[in-house]
C-alpha cells in the first residue's frame, strides 16, 4: 500500500458515557479508494465513521480519546471548527434525508451558504449528472425533493454532498433503506465516483463491500480485527473471526 493516506485514526477510543464503542483503533484510509467498513450490527462501524467528520459532536455524552488526522492534521480537538471539516468531508446517511425544498435548492444550499459565486445552474446540473440523476429530474428541478422515490432521494443526497467538492465522502449504509434496483444504481455510482473522491462506506452487506470496495476493514465489538485489500480479506483472511463472519457463521 504505497498510496497517499488521507484520514488516519491513532489509538482511537470512543465512548458513549462509560460504554466504549470503539477500542484503541488504528486505521489509515487511502486517498481515491473505496474503503468499506464491515461488521455485525452494534460493532461500532457508524460511530467510527461519524468521528471522521465530527458528527458525534451532537451526542451529549460522547467522548473521544486518541487522534483523528485529516491530511496530517488532528481534527478531533475542540479548537478545530467542525464546520470547516464537514465542508471537506461530506456525508450520506442511512435514510435519504433531502431537505423539504426543491431539487435545485437541495444541491445549491451547501455551496451557497459557503460563499459560492459561480453559475448555480451549471453546478446543479453537473452534480446531478455526476450523481446519475440528471435525466430523471431535468424537467422538474424546481419541484420538491420529497416527491422523489427513495433511491432518487438518496442519489440527490449524494449530489448534494458532491456539490461541496469534498475530498472525502462518508457513506453510512447508504443503500440499506433501498430496494435492490436502487441499490445497484448507488453501487455503480460509487464505483464511478471513486475516480474523483475518497469514499468510506459502512455496510452490513458483505457482498456489497466485496463488489465495490478496494479496501475493507472488519470491526467486531469495537475492535478493528482486520484491515486490508478487499480481495484478500474476502479470499484469505488472516484472522479466524474475519473468516467466520464473512462465511456467515455469525453476524
Amino acid at each position: 500500500m504505497n498510496n497517499k493516506i488521507i484520514i488516519e485514526a491513532k489509538n482511537l477510543t470512543l465512548r458513549y458515557g462509560k460504554h466504549p464503542a470503539i477500542r484503541d483503533c488504528n486505521i489509515q484510509i487511502l486517498k481515491n479508494k473505496v474503503t468499506a467498513i464491515i461488521g455485525p450490527s452494534g460493532c461500532g462501524k457508524s460511530t467510527l465513521l461519524r468521528t471522521f467528520n465530527r458528527m458525534n459532536d451532537f451526542i451529549d455524552n460522547f467522548n473521544i480519546e486518541g487522534e483523528v488526522l485529516f491530511e496530517g492534521k488532528v481534527i478531533n480537538h475542540s479548537d478545530m471548527d467542525p464546520v470547516e471539516i464537514r465542508k471537506r468531508i461530506g456525508m450520506v446517511f442511512q435514510k435519504p434525508n433531502p431537505f423539504p425544498k426543491s431539487i435545485f435548492d437541495n444541491i445549491i444550499w451547501g455551496p451557497k451558504i459557503n460563499g459560492f459565486i459561480g453559475n448555480q445552474q451549471e453546478l446543479v446540473e453537473n452534480c446531478l449528472i455526476d450523481a446519475g440523476l440528471f435525466d430523471e429530474v431535468k424537467d422538474r428541478l424546481n419541484s420538491s425533493a420529497m416527491e422523489l422515490s427513495g433511491g432518487q432521494q438518496q442519489r440527490l443526497c449524494i449530489a448534494r454532498a458532491i456539490a461541496m467538492k469534498p475530498e472525502v465522502i462518508l457513506m453510512d449504509e447508504p443503500a440499506s433503506a433501498l430496494d435492490p434496483k436502487a441499490t445497484m444504481k448507488i453501487e455503480e455510482l460509487i464505483k464511478k465516483l471513486k475516480k474523483s473522491y475518497t469514499i468510506i462506506i459502512v455496510t452490513h452487506n458483505m457482498q456489497q463491500a466485496a463488489r465495490i470496495s478496494d479496501n475493507t476493514a472488519f470491526l467486531y465489538e469495537g475492535e478493528l480485527i482486520e484491515y486490508g485489500k478487499t480481495n484478500s480479506i474476502f479470499t484469505k483472511p488472516d484472522k479466524q473471526q474475519t473468516e467466520d463472519y464473512i462465511t456467515g457463521r455469525f453476524g
Partner: protein, 286 residues
C-alpha cells in the same frame, strides 16, 4: 353461568352509555352557552354598538374603544412575546445541553404556565405600572400580558421545532452548515406552521384575559381610541366585565353583545390556527 355473563355484559353496556352521554354533554353545554349569549345579545350587535364609546346610557353604549384597545394590545403582545418566546424555544431545543440548568428552565416554564393569571397582574402592577411608572398604559398592559403568554408560546414553539426530524439537521451539518444556518434555512421554515398555530392560540389567550388587566388598573372609563403605547386603554373582556358587574339588565345585554364580538374574534383565530395546522400536515410528510 350465563346469567353472570349477561350481567357483566349489561354492566359494560351501561358504562358505555354513561360515558357516551358524558362526552356528548360537552357539546350540549357549548350549545346552551352560545345560545344563551346569542339570545341575550344578538339583537344589540349592530353598527351603533360597534362604533360607539361606552356610555352610562345603555342604548348609546358601544365597544369601539374596547375593540381598538384589544387590537393595540394584541399587536404589542405579538411584537414583544413572539420573538422572545420563539428565541427561547430555539435555544432550549437546538442549543441547550441536557443538563441541570436546562432542566430547571424547562420545569420553570411549565410551572409559570400554571401560575394564576392574577399573579401576573400583581407582577405587572408592581414592576411595570409602579416601578417603571408606565402607569395604566397600553405598554404596561401589553408587557404584563406578554409575560403571561410567554410560557405558552415557548412550549408550543418547542413542540413544533421538535417535530422537525433530526435527519434534516444532520443533512445540513454534513454540507458544512453552522448551527444557525441550519436553524434558519431548515428548522425554522419547517417549524413555522406549528409555531404559528401555537402563537395564535397564545394570542387568543391574551385577547380573552381579564384579571391581569384589572390588576394594572385598566378598568377605567375610556371613551377614546388609544393613539400610542402610553395611552390608557380598555379591552373587550374588560368592557364586558364592566357591563356584567352592573345590576341593570340592559347592561347585561350589552355584555352579551360584547361577548359575541369577542367570541367571533376568538373563533376566527382558532379556525385560522386549525387551518394552518392541517395545511402543514399535508406539506411536510416526514
Amino acid at each position: 353461568m350465563n346469567d353472570i355473563l349477561s350481567r357483566r355484559k349489561l354492566k359494560a353496556e351501561i358504562f358505555r352509555i354513561i360515558a357516551t352521554i358524558s362526552t356528548w354533554s360537552s357539546i350540549i353545554i357549548l350549545i346552551i352557552l352560545l345560545g344563551n349569549i346569542a339570545w341575550d345579545g344578538l339583537s344589540k350587535v349592530n353598527w351603533t354598538f360597534l362604533n360607539n364609546f361606552p356610555s352610562r346610557f345603555p342604548h348609546k353604549a358601544g365597544i369601539k374603544a374596547a375593540i381598538w384597545g384589544s387590537i393595540w394590545m394584541l399587536a404589542l403582545v405579538a411584537i414583544i412575546a413572539v420573538p422572545i418566546g420563539v428565541s427561547a424555544a430555539i435555544y432550549l431545543e437546538e442549543y441547550a445541553k441536557k443538563n441541570k440548568l436546562s432542566r430547571f428552565i424547562e420545569i420553570n416554564i411549565a410551572n409559570l404556565a400554571g401560575v394564576p393569571s392574577i399573579i401576573y397582574g400583581i407582577l405587572g402592577l408592581t414592576i411595570f405600572v409602579r416601578f417603571f411608572q408606565l402607569d395604566r398604559s397600553l405598554l404596561a398592559g401589553s408587557l404584563t400580558m406578554s409575560l403571561l403568554i410567554l410560557p405558552v408560546i415557548i412550549m408550543a414553539a418547542r413542540e413544533a421545532i421538535k417535530a422537525v426530524p433530526k435527519s434534516i439537521r444532520l443533512g445540513a451539518f454534513a454540507v458544512g452548515a453552522t448551527r444557525w444556518q441550519t436553524i434558519q434555512s431548515h428548522v425554522l421554515p419547517a417549524a413555522t406552521p406549528g409555531i404559528f398555530t401555537g402563537v395564535i392560540l397564545a394570542m387568543s389567550r391574551a385577547i380573552g384575559e381579564t384579571a391581569p388587566l384589572i390588576m394594572i388598573g385598566a378598568l377605567t372609563y375610556v371613551a377614546f381610541v388609544p393613539e400610542n403605547i402610553n395611552d390608557p386603554f380598555t379591552t373587550l373582556p374588560i368592557q364586558i366585565y364592566n357591563w356584567v358587574s352592573r345590576p341593570q339588565v340592559e347592561f347585561h345585554h350589552l355584555a352579551a353583545a360584547g361577548i359575541i364580538v369577542l367570541l367571533v374574534v376568538l373563533l376566527t383565530m382558532n379556525a385560522a390556527a386549525i387551518l394552518i395546522r392541517n395545511r402543514s400536515l399535508k406539506k411536510y410528510k416526514w
